[in-house]
C-alpha cells in the first residue's frame, strides 16, 4: 500500500504562487481561504543570510492528532496512499482538528465543515499528479510513494539534504523540503 508524500526543492521554488492558484481553481477553495500557501523564511544575520521559499499545505502526517481528536470519525486516514481526509457529511464543525494541527493547515469552510489539502486524491486516483505539482513552472515539486525506494521522492530524499516542518511536534510530516 502506497504512502504518498511530497518533496519540494527550495532551490527551484521562486514563490510564484501558481500552486496556490491551481489548488484554488481545482478544488473550488472559497474566496479568502487557502489550502496551500507560500512562506518565505529568512534566517541569519547580514551578510550571512539564508532565504528559503516554501510552498506549504497539510503535511498528511504519519501520526495524525487531527484524526485522533475527531469525535465523529470525519477526519480519517484514507487507505489509498494514507492520505488524510475529512468526510464533509460527518464533520460537525467542532474545530478540534483545527486546534490539534501544529501546522494550522485546516480551516472551516463557509459551508461549516473542516477543510484542507487532499493531495488532490480525485486526480491521484486517476493516475494524475496533484494540481499544485502539475502546474509548477519550475518543476520544484515532486509527488510519490515514500514507501517505494525506487520512487522519485524516495531517491531525492536519499540523495539530497532535506528537512520537514516543525519535526519537534512529533507528527512525522510527509512533506519534505530539499535545501
Amino acid at each position: 500500500m502506497a504512502r504518498f508524500g511530497m518533496v519540494i526543492d527550495t532551490k527551484k521554488c521562486v514563490g510564484c504562487m501558481d500552486c496556490v492558484v491551481a489548488c484554488k481553481t481545482e478544488n473550488n477553495v472559497p474566496e479568502g481561504y487557502n489550502r496551500d500557501w507560500i512562506v518565505t523564511a529568512a534566517n541569519g544575520k547580514f551578510p550571512d543570510i539564508h532565504l528559503e521559499i516554501q510552498t506549504q499545505r497539510c503535511n498528511h502526517c504519519d501520526y495524525t492528532p487531527c484524526v485522533s481528536c475527531c469525535p465523529t470519525g470525519a477526519s480519517h486516514v484514507e487507505d489509498f496512499g494514507k492520505i488524510v481526509l475529512v468526510e464533509h457529511n460527518k464533520c460537525i464543525g467542532c474545530k478540534a482538528c483545527l486546534a490539534a494541527c501544529p501546522y494550522d493547515a485546516r480551516f472551516i469552510h463557509p459551508d461549516g465543515y473542516a477543510d484542507k489539502c487532499t493531495f488532490c486524491i480525485h486526480r491521484v486516483e486517476k493516475g494524475e499528479l496533484p494540481a499544485c505539482v502539475s502546474v509548477c513552472p519550475t518543476h520544484c515539486m515532486y509527488f510519490g510513494d515514500l514507501d517505494d525506494p525506487n520512487s522519485e521522492v524516495s531517491k531525492l530524499l536519499a540523495s539530497r539534504k532535506n528537512h520537514s516542518l516543525i519535526p519537534e511536534a512529533g507528527t512525522l510530516p510527509r512533506i519534505y523540503y530539499l535545501t
Binding site: V20, N34, A41, A42, P71, C94, A99, P102, E168
Partner: protein, 315 residues
C-alpha cells in the same frame, strides 16, 4: 534574524488561532462547576446527609441540570456544522476526548435526574403527580440512594476530568499540553461548586462545611497552578514560552489579578477569616471564586490557542 512571511490568511487561523470564542470557555466552566456540584451532592447522599430536609442535595440537581443545559447550548452554538450534531452519537471514537465527553454527558443527565427525583421541586411534583411514586420508591431504599450518590460522584469526576483532558491532549498547543490541566479544571470546578453551595445552602452546618471545603480546594488550586507552571517552565522552549504567556506575557495581568488574586487568594483569605469566626460569612468570596473560575477558562482557552510551536523560533 528569523523572519517568516506567509501568504495564508485563513479566517480565525491567522495571524494566531481564534477558532474557539466565548462558547467553549463558558461550556468548560459550567461543565466543571456541574461536575463539582454532582460530586458534592453525591457525597451528601453517600454520607446520609440527605436525611436533613434542607440538604443542598435536594436543590443542586435542578440547578445542575439547568447549568449543564446552558453549557450544552453554548457548545452547540460553537459548532459550525450544526445540522450534523447527531453524528456525535452514531460512533464512539476511543482516542477522541470530545467523543468521550459527548457520551459522558449522555450518562450524566440520568444520574442527575435520579438525584432530582429523590425530592423533586414542588412545581414538578404538582405537574407530574406520578413522580411521587418514583420518589417514594427511591426514598424507601437507602442503599439505592447511596448508589445514586456514588454514581453522581463518579460521573461528576469524569465530567470534570474530561473538560481538562479535552484540551491537554492537543500537543500542538503547548500551553494546554500539560497533564496538570485536568487537575486544575477539576479542582477549579470543585471550588466553584463549593462556593456556590456555600452561598445558597440553607443548612448552617452545610454552609460551614462547604466554606471549609472550598478553602481546601482553593489551597490545592494554588499548588496545582504552581505545579502546572513549573512543569511547563522545565520543559521545551515552546512550553516555557507558553508558561510565560501567563507569568509575564500578554495574559499575565488578567491571570494574576482575576484568576490568582481575586479568584483564589483574596476569597481564600476572606473565607479563612469567616470559618475562624473573625468575620461573618459573605457572598462576596464565593462570587469571586466563581467569576475567577470562569475567567480561568477564558484565559486558558485563548492563551492556549495563541501558544504555538513556531513561537519559540520567532520573537
Amino acid at each position: 534574524m528569523q523572519e517568516l512571511t506567509t501568504t495564508r490568511h485563513n479566517l480565525h487561523i491567522d495571524p494566531s488561532m481564534t477558532v474557539w470564542g466565548w462558547e467553549i470557555p463558558v461550556y468548560l466552566f459550567l461543565g466543571g462547576m456541574v461536575a463539582g456540584m454532582m460530586i458534592i451532592s453525591g457525597y451528601f447522599l453517600f454520607s446520609k446527609r440527605y436525611r436533613e430536609t434542607n440538604c443542598a442535595c435536594y436543590t443542586l440537581p435542578l440547578i445542575s441540570l439547568i447549568l449543564l443545559s446552558v453549557g450544552m447550548v453554548a457548545l452547540f452554538l460553537d459548532l459550525e456544522h450544526k445540522l450534523f450534531v447527531w453524528r456525535l452519537y452514531t460512533t464512539f471514537q476511543i482516542a477522541s476526548p470530545m467523543s468521550w465527553g459527548a457520551w459522558i454527558l449522555i450518562l450524566v443527565y440520568p444520574v442527575i435526574i435520579a438525584n432530582l427525583l429523590m425530592g423533586p421541586p414542588p412545581f414538578l411534583a404538582n405537574k407530574f403527580p406520578k413522580l411521587n411514586n418514583i420518589t417514594t420508591f427511591i426514598n424507601q431504599r437507602p442503599r439505592l440512594i447511596q448508589n445514586i450518590g456514588v454514581a453522581n460522584m463518579l460521573l461528576g469526576g469524569l465530567l470534570g476530568v474530561y473538560t481538562g483532558v479535552l484540551l491537554s491532549t492537543m500537543a500542538s498547543r503547548p500551553l494546554w499540553n500539560t497533564s496538570m490541566l485536568w487537575v486544575l479544571f477539576l479542582i477549579s470546578g470543585l471550588s466553584a461548586a463549593a462556593a456556590f453551595v456555600h452561598m445558597i445552602a440553607k443548612n448552617v452546618k452545610e454552609r460551614e462545611l462547604l466554606a471549609k471545603a472550598d478553602n481546601g480546594f482553593l489551597t490545592i488550586e494554588i499548588f496545582v497552578i504552581a505545579l502546572m507552571l513549573i512543569g511547563l517552565l522545565t520543559s521545551t522552549q515552546v512550553h516555557i514560552d507558553a508558561a510565560n504567556l501567563l507569568i509575564s506575557g500578554s495574559y499575565a495581568p488578567e491571570f494574576w489579578v482575576f484568576v490568582v488574586g481575586m479568584g483564589v487568594v483574596i476569597p481564600l483569605i476572606i473565607q479563612l477569616l469567616a470559618v475562624n469566626h473573625k468575620i461573618n460569612h459573605t457572598p462576596i468570596a464565593p462570587i469571586m471564586v466563581i467569576v475567577g473560575g470562569l475567567i480561568l477558562r477564558f484565559i486558558i482557552v485563548s492563551a492556549g490557542q495563541y501558544s504555538h510551536w513556531l513561537n519559540a523560533h520567532f520573537k
